[in-house]
């Protein structure tokens, strides 16, 4: 899987989990401010990403993630997908 493909998959899962239109889920979108996601929404989204991609994302690594782009990067790093 290359980066654009991964990004589109991650965005789709995030849109589904956060119940927002896919068009709003852009790399710059901030979870809390732009997508109205609370901390449990984020954990749920991470659980869905873990299941989809077969990766494990520890809680401490989620802490710095504020935007969709950062979430994509985090999943990419876990999967060894380069930019």
């Amino acid at each position: 899987m290359d980066m654009p493909e991964l990004e589109s998959k991650v965005c789709k899962i995030l849109a589904e989990n956060l119940s927002v239109p896919e068009s709003q889920v852009t790399p710059k979108a901030r979870f809390q401010e732009d997508l109205d996601a609370d901390s449990l929404d984020l954990v749920e989204a991470v659980l869905a990403l873990e299941e989809e991609f077969g990766v494990t994302i520890p809680e401490e690594e989620m802490e710095g993630v504020q935007t969709v782009g950062q979430a994509v990067q985090l999943v990419a790093s876990k999967m060894g997908v380069g930019a």
Binding site: L40, E44, L47, A48
Partner: protein
């Protein structure tokens, strides 16, 4: 409850006493029940046999709630054989009475690990599936000792009071997702756990219990089954005493 899906329950510490009675009560309401046990596989198999004789679906599952790996393995088995756990009853409990001034650290740790950490580990493992389903029921079996102090039970009562705190915080964390987390607090119930109590201590409890008798595991189980049912969706973070009035 998710439409068209068989509801699966896991009860820990279910080879006897309240856990066993809870399995039978849940099986009678049509749930597929995983009978969790640690030290007594025969008791668990007996519970399974009784549930099946009643027309229910049940399997026995080895689970040491103090051990993350064991918890994960047990949930994996339940998922493979019955489906994802939608109802979790954290019932596995441990007690060894003794006055705090001479109480061994190892006993303290063993009590807290089983009664409190064990419930947390099972709950953490169960929650992702419940969150995804937007439905779940967690019932923590605490104790009247969580609400009133008991000389000689500092560790037990502290661990059970901790379980009440866990219940209330979890209720707030996941209450918006169709998941309820409640606690029941049994008083003096005839089980193997209360067998070692001295006759004098039994008599004292009896005097403090307005019902004038001890409870049965079935009386606690029916309250747990009610909290675990689809109709109890608006009961969340509750601490329900089943103690014949002991803490009234």
């Amino acid at each position: 409850m998710p439409e068209g899906e068989r509801t699966v329950a896991l009860v820990t510490g279910a080879s006897r006493g309240i856990g066993s009675a809870t399995c039978l009560a849940l099986a009678r309401t049509g749930l597929a029940v995983a009978v969790g046990y640690r030290s007594d596989p025969e008791g668990a198999e007996e519970t399974v046999a009784k549930a099946r004789a009643d027309g229910g679906t049940a399997i026995a599952v080895s689970i040491d709630v103090r051990d993350e790996v064991s918890v994960d393995g047990a949930f994996g088995r339940v998922e493979a054989e019955l489906g994802r756990v939608r109802v979790l009853v954290n019932n596995a409990g441990y007690t060894r009475d003794g006055l705090a001034v001479k109480y061994a650290t190892e006993q303290w740790d063993a009590t807290v690990e089983t009664n409190l950490t064990g419930a947390f580990l099972c709950t953490r493992r169960a929650l992702p599936g419940m969150l995804k389903a937007r439905w779940g029921r967690i019932v923590n079996v605490a104790s009247a000792a969580a609400l009133r102090g008991n000389a000689g039970q500092a560790a037990y009562s502290a661990s059970k009071a901790g379980l009440v705190g866990l219940t209330k915080s979890l209720a707030r964390e996941v209450g918006g997702r169709g998941i309820t987390v409640n606690a029941v607090c049994p008083g003096f119930v005839h089980t193997r756990m209360t067998e070692p109590q001295s006759e004098e201590s039994r008599q004292r409890y009896l005097e403090m219990t307005p019902a004038g008798r001890f409870g049965t595991p079935e009386e606690v189980a029916s309250v747990i089954a009610c909290l675990a049912g689809p109709e109890a969706g608006y009961v969340n973070g509750a601490v329900v005493s089943v103690d014949g009035g002991l803490t009234a």
